[in-house]
């Protein structure tokens, strides 16, 4: 920590560290990055994200940016989207990408897994009704295929339908001939992604290391 950090800042860092689980060094690094992105302002806006060149060619860019402004991810039990976020919210969203520590109990791992999957779920469920409907899922698939041009449209529909059917078949029990599968609830979402070890795959290495890394 540099000498220019005054005591109150350190205290906030420690509070944040307790809250999010990062180490104080990692918070310091992320704060630098935050200030870099926001051009030394207090709050970060969507435009600042859009200015990141690395994100430019990412097919799901808009969803990533939205995730940062989604208040459901701030762990404050509120909904809706924010226009701008402060460092604390930024850090909270980043904390979803922490890897599991070695000395976690099975329960804690399960909680971590649920939290990460909840984050993913929120990314898909844009209208916040608790289910991922066909339209929303189709949007996801289309975004993923958005680089492929014309083929994408039709096949996206096909793939989405197929995927929804899959979810329906694995999660729902008996369905009568006229039942309609409303959408993927969070529980179903958990079930279908059981095969992917989210807790170890959804992480950024950077957030695990204590050493300073290049900030662009």
């Amino acid at each position: 920590m540099g000498a220019f950090h005054s005591n109150p800042a350190e205290q906030t860092y420690r509070d944040l560290a307790e809250k999010t689980g990062f180490s104080v060094e990692q918070i310091w690094i992320l704060h630098n990055r935050f200030k870099q992105l926001s051009h030394d302002e207090e709050m970060l806006r969507r435009d600042d994200f859009k200015a990141i060149p690395d994100l430019a060619c990412n097919p799901i860019r808009s969803q990533i940016i939205e995730a940062f402004f989604d208040q459901r991810n701030f762990q404050t039990n509120s909904d809706g989207t924010a226009h701008e976020i402060g460092f604390e919210e930024f850090l909270t969203v980043m904390s979803y990408f922490r890897p599991p520590s070695l000395n976690m109990t099975q329960e804690e791992k399960e909680d971590l897994r649920r939290a990460k999957l909840r984050f993913l779920f929120n990314m898909h469920d844009t209208d916040n009704d608790g289910t991922i409907t066909l339209e929303e899922y189709r949007h996801v698939v289309e975004e993923l295929l958005s680089r492929s041009g014309a083929i994408g449209q039709e096949t996206a529909k096909g793939i989405t339908d197929a995927a929804m059917l899959e979810v329906a078949s694995t999660s729902v029990g008996h369905m009568g001939p006229d039942d309609v599968y409303e959408g993927i609830t969070f529980e179903h979402f958990l079930k279908i992604l059981k095969g992917i070890e989210i807790e170890s795959r959804m992480h950024i290495r950077f957030l695990n290391m204590d050493t300073t890394v290049l900030c662009k």
Binding site: R33, S169, P177, G195, S200, F206
Partner: protein, 779 residues
């Protein structure tokens, strides 16, 4: 080296056989035939060999008298010498194949003892028999081993290498391969030297460099042995790829160390400059090998771009280029194994996008076949060589070797894991470390390397050979046999039997992009960032050059999806041809909507050839892999294809239930493989196929407007499980819903554009998909 195969008279051979296989003899009549055939083959060879001398001597005797007497025209002449070499080679391969057959006919045995042990035992027996005949048994010569027997195994391993686990763990694998092998070699060499000096006597003459050379030879984990043992224990992916990857990549280290010590072993001193040169040499060997392989891989990919009119020789290119990569690397003393692996890995995604499905199958089967036979022959020859080779048994040396092997391996793994775990996300637990340490088997590579030592420079060569053989026996027999019960005992995670699903694929990709994006936000150029860059480079430039036609632009998700559907389409094509479809469904099982649909139905379930070809063209996209499975490694059940196994039964059932019509709008999903399939909206005809129908125009799920993307994949795949499921389930509703088995026959007819929803492949026959979706390039 003349290969002589003799065998004693059948009855004499049968006696020991009978003693050993008494139980099997009686209970498994097939085994008798197998063994009798094998012995018969040997007997014929020996008889022919005997006759050769008579014929030759007879002929020369006749000529020598100079009488020019007119002899009768020989109606039947024997000329064994003419075909001797290929005949004997074929006999050996036949023997190897019979052994494989035999072992699998005795299930009890193959469950307890790994095949490699049995094969070595057979080799010992055969070697003993040959010895008894007074002939010299053939030895596993360097050329034979490295040029003929090893490449198929390595190519098979490299071509089907699961890229995702490999690239995720490549750091760990490299550390184990390089640092671990170095540690093993030096520790063993130095300690053995100490032991030799301490024991004295005959061992005093063994120099430090000789010991180090011995340590280098013995320390390398052998890919053949690892493959042979590990593929039977079905351990989880991570451990498998760690041990296996290590065994492949340590070849470079072994090559360098071997040449270094061999070069200086006779001189006696190694200077610092030599050490430095050695390090450079290592880099050259490793990088050079990989580059040679990559170059040949790119050439192969480029060649395959133009083979659309000569499909028949496509597999040949793959094999030839790979073999040439291996040979080219060996010319320069580079690491041939790494060249082969690099060639396979580089060429695979592009070649698979270009070649036909049949060629792909051919490549797969040929590789498996060759590697399987090679492996068998290697182990048999090991046994034979044990009997043949001159031995110099030295108790202290041998015992010390075995102990040191174990100790150095354990210490090495523990030490390295301690360091590696600081950098890993998914740490290696103690159980993992134990398996990695215990799985470090030595094999035929060590033997062959020792075999070519020049006896002049290394007078203790026989002692080395004996010690190496003992170590090999120890690791293969003791460790190979006990690793399976230990895995059970320690409850090590086994291979996950998950089916691949579309949702997982979607989310895998989603995660990839998400993590890349977050890395971008963090400003951190991490793992995902570079992977993403590589993928984009690959897509923009490389694929254009190496993949023919429009396949080069297909994104991964689409190709995955289409791949699944192609399989079903092909299955349909095969199954549909035997089904006779009545065009009007029986009214008993119809309900309103499906009536409507069926009247418009078509008569034939068959896909037209044109369409099939069209589909094939579109669907053969570059397969970047999704989830890796390791079924490709399993040689015993190469096909692992439930379809082929169950085919006859399926056909029987089909005929039985031909008349029943399936409700087009009722799709049944067998939730788990063996559970009852409930009736529900979405029903899987088989485990692989889903038909949903557009019953409810108002439903948000199904829309009227879009035509189905794939028209082909309309027919369900006949699968035993689902068929039996539906047949067995006795739910009243089922009587009205068409039995799924009838769907096999039914299928396509009912669906027309707009009605048929997109078939979804919830799960695919594991081996098919896995082997085909096995990846490529770093994704």
């Amino acid at each position: 080296m003349p290969v002589v195969l003799c065998s004693c008279a059948p009855e004499a051979a049968e006696m020991p056989a009978r003693c050993r296989w008494a139980g099997a003899w009686r209970t498994f009549p097939r085994v008798r035939w197998v063994f009798l055939l094998a012995l018969f083959a040997g007997a014929v060879a020996s008889a022919s060999a005997g006759q050769v001398n008579d014929t030759d001597s007879g002929a020369t005797g006749g000529e020598g008298t100079g009488h020019h007497s007119r002899r009768a025209f020989p109606v039947l002449a024997v000329n064994y010498e003419y075909i001797r070499m290929p005949f004997e080679i074929s006999l050996w391969i036949l023997l190897a194949s019979f052994m494989k057959l035999g072992f699998h006919l005795i299930p009890r045995l193959s469950g307890v003892v790994p095949e490699s042990c049995l094969l070595i035992a057979v080799g010992l027996v055969v070697g003993g028999l040959i010895r008894l005949m007074g002939e010299t048994p053939p030895v596993l010569s360097y050329n034979l081993f490295f040029l003929c027997l090893l490449p198929p195994i390595i190519l098979d391993a490299g071509y089907f290498l699961p890229m995702r686990p490999f690239s995720e763990n490549v750091g760990t694998i490299l550390v184990f391969a390089v640092v671990g092998t170095l540690w093993n070699a030096f520790f063993m060499g130095a300690t053995l030297f100490g032991v030799c000096q301490a024991v004295g006597g005959q061992l005093e003459s063994v120099g430090l460099l000789a010991c180090l050379l011995f340590g280098a030879i013995v320390s390398a984990v052998d890919p053949v042995a690892v493959l042979a043992v590990f593929e039977e224990i079905h351990i989880n992916e991570l451990l498998h790829i760690l041990v296996f990857g290590e065994s492949l990549l340590n070849d470079a280290v072994t090559v360098v160390l071997y040449h270094l010590f061999e070069e200086f072993g006779n001189v006696g001193i190694v200077t610092l400059a030599d050490v430095f040169l050695g390090i450079i040499c290592f880099l050259v060997v490793a990088m050079g090998g990989i580059m040679v392989g990559a170059v040949y891989g790119v050439l192969a990919a480029f060649t395959s771009r133009f083979t659309s009119h000569t499909r028949v020789i496509e597999p040949l290119f793959v094999f030839l280029y790979s073999y040439m990569a291996y040979l080219s690397a060996e010319v320069f003393h580079l690491s041939g194994i790494m060249a082969l692996i690099a060639c396979g890995v580089v060429m695979r995604p592009y070649v698979e996008a270009n070649i036909s499905h049949k060629s792909y199958t051919t490549i797969k089967y040929f590789l498996k076949m060759w590697s399987s036979v090679s492996e068998t022959l290697i182990f048999i020859f090991l046994g034979v060589s044990t009997v043949a080779g001159p031995h110099a048994w030295n108790w202290p040396f041998v015992i010390a070797t075995i102990f040191l092997c174990l100790i150095s391996r354990v210490l090495g793994v523990i030490g390295l894991t301690f360091v590696i775990n600081k950098f890993r996300i998914v740490k290696l637990s103690n159980k993992d470390q134990f398996i990695v340490a215990y799985g470090g088997l030595r094999g035929a590579i060590a033997f062959s390397l020792a075999f070519v030592l020049s006896a002049k420079h290394f007078p203790m060569k026989n002692m080395f050979l004996t010690a190496i053989i003992t170590v090999i026996f120890f690791t293969v027999f003791v460790q190979g046999m006990t690793i399976r019960p230990l895995v059970e005992l320690l409850a090590v995670k086994k291979k996950k039997e998950t089916k691949h699903s579309i949702n997982e694929e979607i989310h895998t990709q989603f995660l990839d992009h998400l993590l890349t994006g977050i890395e971008g936000v963090c400003g951190h150029y991490g793992h995902h960032h570079w992977k993403d860059k590589l993928n984009r480079f690959n897509k923009m430039y490389v694929k254009r050059w190496l993949i023919a036609g429009e396949r080069s632009t297909e994104p991964q998700l689409i190709s995955f999806y289409h791949k699944l559907e192609l399989k079903q389409a092909l299955m349909l094509a095969e199954s549909g041809s035997t089904a006779k479809l009545p065009s009007i469904p029986s009214s008993a099982s119809m309900q309103g909507e499906s009536m409507r649909r069926s009247t418009r139905g078509r008569a034939l379930p068959q896909i037209s050839k044109v369409k099939e070809e069209e589909i094939r063209k579109i669907l053969r996209a570059n397969l970047q892999k999704t989830r890796q499975r390791l079924h490709s490694y399993n040689r015993h059940t190469l096909i692992a294809d439930p379809f082929e196994d169950n085919w006859t039964e399926v056909r029987l059932r089909k005929k039985r239930v031909e008349m029943e019509r399936r409700m087009s709008h009722y799709l049944t999903v067998p939730a788990k493989q063996q559970d009852c399939s409930p009736v529900r909206r979405v029903r899987f005809e088989s485990d692989n196929q889903v038909y949903s129908s557009n019953l409810n125009p108002g439903s948000p799920m199904f829309h009227n407007d879009d035509p189905p993307v794939m028209e082909v994949a309309r027919a369900p795949i006949a699968r035993m499980d689902s068929v039996s499921l539906v047949d067995d389930s006795s739910r009243p509703q089922d009587s009205e819903t068409a039995r799924s088995s009838s769907g096999q026959t039914l299928a396509v007819s009912e669906f027309k554009d707009g009605d048929l929803r997109i078939p979804c492949c919830r799960s695919d026959p594991r081996p098919n998909l896995n082997e085909e979706a096995d990846s490529t390039f770093l994704s």
